[in-house]
């Protein structure tokens, strides 16, 4: 037996869960869930979101109070899913979508694969590493070893995340392998400017999403999530620095 109340709160929680999992900021998740619940006819709506959990409470048509929470374990970076959920919630709030249709759409977004295939992300991190290294070091030829290093570090990151399921340790290992690749390339005479090559191989690992979201959360008054995301970004940066420091102290 699923009443309208259950359907509505399920819909709101699903939208919030997708947004938070794929890298939206806390303020946006809270606001989206609240708007959707009010558009569905709920009163006295309160939503509270931290980086790792979602709470939503409200009253629907003089019924009892309902309050539900879900725990978010994984955090990915897939901003196109955030954009799609944002679009669906706008359509739902504007009344152009019923609860059932919106739920189907959200389920479709949840099941669909990443916007870009994994090989394109590898190629993009190679190109990004190479191009970024030129901005720092001004040597056109060294873009090639930098892009090889960027490719290796992203490959290592995806591989270790998949098999180890340990966030900071796999970032450490990815930075270590990227640094080792850069140092090997330089020592074998393929590349001259060592700092440019190492920076180019590490730049795809930079925690851009938690860094930016931390600033936005702190500014919006969500102090807990802002601090949590800031700590996540700081720990990731420290893991990367430790990984490349290990590589440098072993092989330089």
């Amino acid at each position: 037996m699923t009443t309208k109340k259950d359907k509505l709160i399920d819909l709101c929680l699903l939208a919030g869960k997708l947004m938070l999992m794929y890298g939206a900021e806390t303020y946006r998740v809270e606001d989206t869930m609240k708007r959707m619940a009010i558009a569905g006819g709920m009163d006295n709506v309160n939503s509270f979101v931290t980086t790792t959990g979602i709470f939503l409470s409200g009253v629907l048509e003089d019924d009892d109070d309902i309050m539900q929470m879900i725990r978010i374990v994984d955090r990915f970076q897939d901003l196109s899913k955030v954009t799609e959920v944002n679009h669906i919630s706008r359509e739902f709030v504007a009344g152009r979508m019923s609860i059932t249709v919106a739920r189907q759409e959200l389920k479709r977004v949840e099941k669909q694969p990443m916007n870009y295939p994994l090989w394109l992300i590898y190629i993009a991190s190679a190109i990004g590493g190479g191009a970024f290294s030129y901005l720092i070091g001004d040597s056109l030829f060294d873009m090639i070893p930098a892009s090889i290093g960027g490719l290796v570090s992203t490959l290592a990151l995806v591989l270790f995340q998949h098999y180890l399921q340990a966030k900071f340790f796999s970032e450490y290992l990815a930075a270590f392998f990227g640094g080792v690749t850069a140092l090997i390339l330089v020592h074998s005479g393929f590349g001259t400017n060592i700092d440019q090559i190492i920076i180019g191989s590490l730049i795809p690992l930079v925690p851009g999403v938690p860094l930016t979201n931390s600033v936005r959360d702190l500014m919006a008054g969500d102090l807990i999530s802002g601090l949590a995301r800031g700590a996540e970004a700081a720990l990731t940066s420290l893991s990367i620095a430790a990984g490349v420091a290990t590589a440098v102290s072993l092989f330089l």
Binding site: N86, I199, S237
Partner: protein, 147 residues
């Protein structure tokens, strides 16, 4: 300079692909990255240090990102996250790490302070642009002036 701008645009688009940003927005992100890099590299010519230059660059790219996000009706982080990637102080972070590895702690601390300042400048630029766009929608602070 033109080469740098083109390469910076390519780098920003590559990072947008790494962050899985929708295909139809990629060209705008490239332009935003080029804007932030040109501000960041042109301001030091007039005698401004790299830290304020990073702040101004982050501010201008975040401002344009807000307009673009309004127009395209997407979350603004879609534009700001790749837009600030060219400003990341990678060179200084590397120097910091190298100095600490070699046992030169004074040099490491001073380079580390520079790195943290530049990261803080980027955050400050983002926050400044955000607060312009959230005038009247912010949270209550200190005194209840509307009673």
């Amino acid at each position: 300079m033109v080469w740098e701008l083109i390469i910076c645009g390519i780098a920003t688009i590559a990072f947008a692909i790494i962050f899985n940003i929708p295909y139809r927005l990629l060209w705008m992100i490239g332009l935003i990255g080029m804007l932030s890099w040109s501000v960041y590299s042109l301001l030091p010519i007039t005698g401004v240090g790299p830290v304020p230059a990073a702040a101004v660059a982050a501010f201008s790219s975040a401002l344009i990102s807000h307009f673009a996000a309004r127009k395209k009706r997407v979350p603004v982080t879609t534009f700001t996250i790749p837009g600030i990637i060219p400003l990341v102080p990678g060179g200084r972070a590397y120097e910091t790490m190298l100095a600490f590895v070699q046992g030169d702690y004074i040099e490491g601390l001073s380079q580390g302070a520079g790195t943290l300042l530049q990261a803080g400048a980027i955050a400050g630029g983002l926050a400044f642009a955000l607060s312009i766009f959230s005038i009247g929608r912010g949270v209550g602070q200190r005194y209840e002036t509307n009673r």
